[in-house]
């Protein structure tokens, strides 16, 4: 099945009930199985600029590259091309934000989180920097696929603080990595096997800070047959709970198999659009 038929994608973004600006940006490219979401930070409109640059660099560059390379092939380091595409283009976005921030005083210090998923060959490569997340609903199991780059997550990892106590922490708003604040960025990328029926949720912290994980999972589970309604409902829940931050969600539902065509004939056929 071609990727755009195998995936159903829905998204929503909302400034929330407190903030005037929406500093989140997102983009969905069903034709190449790519979804990107970024949560910008910085004064004036710098947050929007940083998240906007990141989403547009990732989307246009990866879309363009996929016309000449195949995401399932291996690059010279033995990694899937999808992985290096994500990593290289987050770096590209990083450089362009960093340079803009250096040359324009009003953009000084701007940065953004990013989370991106590239679906190919029954897999998804997930890249992230900062505290925007990817969750997966598989059957009845709802779990986070990414781990935040935040002080709080590091404290949880080192056993300083329990997961339950983390909700009480006063250090929730500190991320340890962001795109655009330094000359280089380290992007975390992992490849996950995908199963038919999976639903992937990409979100900014405006969702998971306002709505508990089990409620997010419960909503997705109840509304899994209508993901655009689910996206809408998640944003409403964040706003009903106070909507203190911009809230953005992208939902990707896997409707069918999308294994890459194998062998010369299959590849030939796929060019003619089977």
């Amino acid at each position: 099945m071609r990727i755009e038929h195998a995936l159903e994608i829905a998204s929503q973004t909302h400034p929330g009930r407190v903030r005037a600006h929406n500093e989140d940006s997102l983009s969905c490219e069903p034709s190449c199985g790519l979804v990107v979401l970024a949560d910008g930070m910085g004064g004036y409109n710098a947050g929007e600029v940083a998240s906007g640059i990141t989403v547009s660099v990732l989307t246009t560059e990866i879309k363009h590259s996929l016309q000449s390379v195949r995401p399932e092939d291996k690059d010279e380091d033995g990694e899937d091309v999808a992985v290096s595409l994500l990593r290289e283009n987050v770096q590209k976005a990083n450089a362009s934000i960093f340079h803009a921030a250096q040359s324009q005083p009003q953009y000084a210090g701007m940065g953004t989180t990013v989370v991106a998923g590239l679906f190919y060959d029954n897999r998804v490569a997930v890249a992230h920097v900062g505290d925007s997340r990817v969750y997966r609903l598989r059957g009845d199991d709802f779990e986070a696929v990414t781990r935040d780059h935040s002080l709080l997550q590091e404290q949880i990892d080192s056993g300083m603080i329990s997961k339950e106590d983390a909700r009480l922490s006063r250090n929730k708003n500190l991320v340890t990595r962001a795109v655009g604040i330094d000359a280089n960025v380290t992007t975390e990328v992992h490849v996950h096997e995908v199963e038919v029926g999976d639903i992937y949720l990409l979100c900014s912290d405006g969702l998971n800070d306002m709505v508990e994980d089990d409620k997010i999972g419960g909503t997705l589970h109840a509304l899994r047959s209508n993901i655009s309604l689910a996206a809408d409902q998640l944003v409403k829940m964040a706003n009903d709970n106070g909507g203190r931050d911009n809230v953005s969600v992208i939902l990707v539902k896997v409707k069918g198999d999308f294994a890459a065509p194998r062998g010369v004939m299959a590849k030939l056929l796929s060019w003619f659009g089977k």
Binding site: A108, L151, S158, L168, T176, D182, D240, R244
Partner: protein, 275 residues
């Protein structure tokens, strides 16, 4: 404002300590930050580790132990107004930084990163003071955290946002995990749906969750959502849309009124408020 400890015995305040070090020790011996010269107190009795706005109490294998709010602890994440008891002595922990579950604390995200670049960021005038103070705090806690944040420096702050809406109280419910209580909007008018036709006629379904799905999966499903401003019905799946009081709904949410009649997957039911 850094957190404080107030040392008292039998209700009389003895001394006040500001938690301005990454690690403060409490004990009988003179080298401790908080010295309690009493034989019931061990040489090094307990320690308090502070990371930015959070403080953690740890019993250093003391002979007589440490109590917090009346319960023995080995390790404890201190919350505002906690009372730590060591022998006859009480240490009250005060932290007027709003906690995550209150209103004013939803500060904008900041980035922690390594020192060299911090200078560049300090150029930004309105962010500089915040960044500086936070940076010091981060620096002092670095070796304690033992996480990868050693030498962490807060380099860039989004301007702190002044929350204008919602009382603190609403957010205290955020930590509620029963999954049934609405978080904002206070108490809901309780409502239910009574089945009128079909094999389950007469049955009543109380709407205790924020989301209740109705219907037959694969055939026709609708969801009833409970929100601060009322109850809504929305079509989820199926070729036909639910019928409300004889009129077919569209794909948008529709608010329910008392005694509305819903028709779904061939079953009639009535929505009503319980008073």
């Amino acid at each position: 404002m850094a957190a404080k400890l107030i040392l008292s015995m039998d209700g009389a305040v003895l001394k006040e300590y500001v938690l301005n070090k990454e690690r403060m020790t409490i004990g009988r011996k003179a080298h401790n930050d908080v010295v309690i010269d009493n034989l019931a107190v061990s040489g090094e009795h307990a320690a308090i580790v502070t990371i930015l706005n959070d403080s953690f109490l740890e019993d250093l294998d003391s002979t007589n132990g440490v109590m917090v709010n009346g319960a023995q602890v080995k390790k404890h994440f201190l919350q505002n107004n906690d009372v730590v008891e060591i022998g006859k002595y009480k240490l009250k922990y005060l932290n007027d930084q709003p906690s995550q579950s209150s209103a004013a604390d939803f500060e904008r995200t900041m980035v922690l990163r390594a020192p060299p670049a911090a200078a560049a960021v300090a150029k930004r005038p309105e962010a500089a003071p915040v960044a500086q103070t936070q940076a010091n705090a981060a620096q002092t806690q670095a070796n304690v955290a033992q996480a990868n944040v050693s030498q962490a420096n807060v380099s860039q702050a989004r301007p702190a946002h002044v929350a204008q809406m919602e009382a603190t109280g609403k957010f205290s419910e955020l930590s509620d995990t029963t999954a049934q209580q609405p978080v904002s909007g206070g108490s809901f008018a309780q409502a239910a749906v009574q089945i009128l036709t079909g094999p389950n006629a007469g049955k009543e379904l109380e709407l205790v969750k924020n989301l209740t799905t109705l219907g037959k999966p694969g055939l026709q499903v609708a969801v009833l959502t409970r929100r601060p401003n009322g109850y809504f019905i929305t079509h989820v799946e199926g070729a036909t849309f639910p019928v409300l009081n004889g009129a077919q709904l569209n794909e948008h949410p529709h608010q329910l009124k008392d005694h509305d009649i819903i028709e779904l997957a061939g079953i009639k039911m009535e929505f009503f408020f319980k008073s």
